[in-house]
């Protein structure tokens, strides 16, 4: 019978508080400032506590930074491989080896007809002589070929189709039509190899995602455990704060900021680790790239990727702390 009355009371507790502040000269703006001060205080005091125990903080942050840099390292590996594959794709060419008996002039004509095919972007004719020259330079059998009397190489027509390998149906169709042509001996495309690379990349991508997820969960738990320890060390403080009327939000705040700092600093450290490693690899990759005509430029973490990295690690920090706080505060007596 008293219940409706009680309910009314429960909604009230905040009101006298505000009224009292007002009568004491405070107003809404003061409250707001106080609230902001509370946040600033929690922000800096939690950073201060990290600095106050440098050894513990350093160990935690090192572990986290390694985990985060592993995840972002995998990511970079994948996008770099993708870039390489992308460059290879640009040469999705079909090589048509013409029959040996076809003459140069006939080959020219044949190339002209192919060029008119709407699905073809570019056609390049490699004459017997050119083919031989190329073979001499790149194969290392130069002198052996010199002793040969006739040129054993066929004329090659290199066709660059308009569609890429992804457009499998029409690509296959084009290839078939070339194979049917009476002038063509062999129509060849390194499709299988590219397909395989494509698959390997897909595996790498998925693997990197899975590993990153796993490492992220690890980070979450490490931060959670760190916060749990901190909460344990400051148990008295938490209980006293509760007893003088602190809400859970108030108690959680400094710990959430701790989680944020740990995550954020680890993210920054991870960025340095990853970038440092990339710089170490850079020279050798550059050499390798020059061997292949400089088509490959190593990708570092871009500005937005760096922001994402910091955002994710900070979020993991806050989330890890939050999970532990919700659980632990519910089990800290008194309620």
């Amino acid at each position: 019978m008293m219940k409706p009355v009680q309910k009314k009371y429960y909604k009230k507790p905040l009101k006298p508080e505000i009224r009292r502040t007002k009568s004491a000269g405070g107003n809404f703006i003061d409250k707001l400032h106080a609230y902001r001060d509370q946040h600033a205080q929690a922000l800096f005091s939690s950073l201060g506590r990290l600095v106050a125990s440098p050894f513990t903080s350093l160990m935690t942050i090192t572990v986290l930074a390694i985990a985060i840099s592993l995840a972002s390292g995998f990511y970079l590996l994948v996008i770099n491989l993708q870039q390489v594959a992308g460059n290879l794709k640009a040469s999705d060419q079909i090589s048509l080896f013409l029959r040996y008996e076809i003459s140069d002039s006939f080959a020219d004509k044949f190339a002209e007809t192919i060029k008119r095919n709407p699905n073809v972007q570019q056609v390049k004719l490699i004459s017997r002589k050119e083919a031989l020259e190329e073979f001499k330079t790149f194969s290392g059998f130069g002198s052996a070929i010199d002793v040969m009397e006739s040129n054993p190489l066929p004329i090659v027509v290199q066709v660059t189709p308009k569609m890429t390998l992804d457009d499998k149906g029409s690509f296959q169709h084009l290839l078939e039509s070339f194979k049917q042509a009476p002038e063509v001996d062999i129509a060849q495309v390194d499709m299988q190899w590219l397909e395989r690379l494509e698959l390997i990349l897909e595996v790498a991508r998925r693997g990197a995602t899975l590993l990153s997820g796993l490492l992220g969960i690890g980070v979450l738990f490490i931060i959670g455990n760190t916060i749990r320890l901190e909460l344990h060390n400051r148990r008295d403080e938490v209980i006293i704060a509760k007893l003088v009327g602190a809400t859970n939000a108030f108690i959680q705040r400094p710990f959430l900021y701790s989680g944020f700092w740990i995550g954020f600093i680890s993210g920054v450290a991870a960025w340095f680790i990853v970038t440092g490693m990339m710089l170490l690899l850079w020279q050798s990759v550059d050499k390798l790239s020059r061997l292949y005509g400089g088509t490959f430029h190593m990708l570092f973490l871009s500005f937005s990727e760096t922001l994402t990295l910091l955002l994710i690690s900070s979020l993991l920090g806050i989330l890890g702390a939050w999970g532990v706080l919700v659980y632990q505060l519910r089990h800290t007596k008194p309620v």
Binding site: Y9, Y10, D236, I240, A241, V244, G245, T247
Partner: protein, 211 residues
Amino acid sequence: MRYPEVGDVLRNISFHLQHGEIAFLTGHSGAGKSTLLKLITIMERCSRGHIFLDGQDLTYAKERHIPYLRRKVGFIFQDYKLLQDRTVFDNVALPLVIAGFGHLEVSRRVRAALDKVGLAGKEKKYPVALSGGEQQRVGIARAVVNKPPLIIADEPTGNLDPELSAEIMGLFEKFQQVGVTVLIASHDISLISQLNHRVLKLDHGQLVSSK
């Protein structure tokens, strides 16, 4: 009230405190004084019966309302419960910071409260550098700094000499005059008898007199 390990610690207790009343809670050690006070601040929950604070039934208080209910009560702990790594000032300021007061208001009130308990000038000290009696007075300052309508004190004079005890009691009486209700657990019989206030006597968890 029942502790699972030892069974009922308090039973058959019924009393009502008026606004602006001072009452002593007395009884032998282990009678259940501290336990009774803990029920009022919801540090423990009662297994049967009802407790009303300012008209609100604490039995039904939801977890998220408890902090606001506690702000209505200034609790003075038998074991002080000070933060050892904070200065006296920060300790006393805690309830105000929690309630969201601006820092000017906080420092004004903290100084006033410390002044009242005779600790002016010790704001920057840490609790370890204070005597037992001084720590107790820091606890008192923290309890009254928020000007709560109810002050609950568990042996607030346990570590004070008679002179200081009398002074603290005088302080409580001053609060009473502005309408604050005060409930003091104490077995300092001489002090209680000197002052003419209501006395609630507990014996083995039962209320035996409440004049």
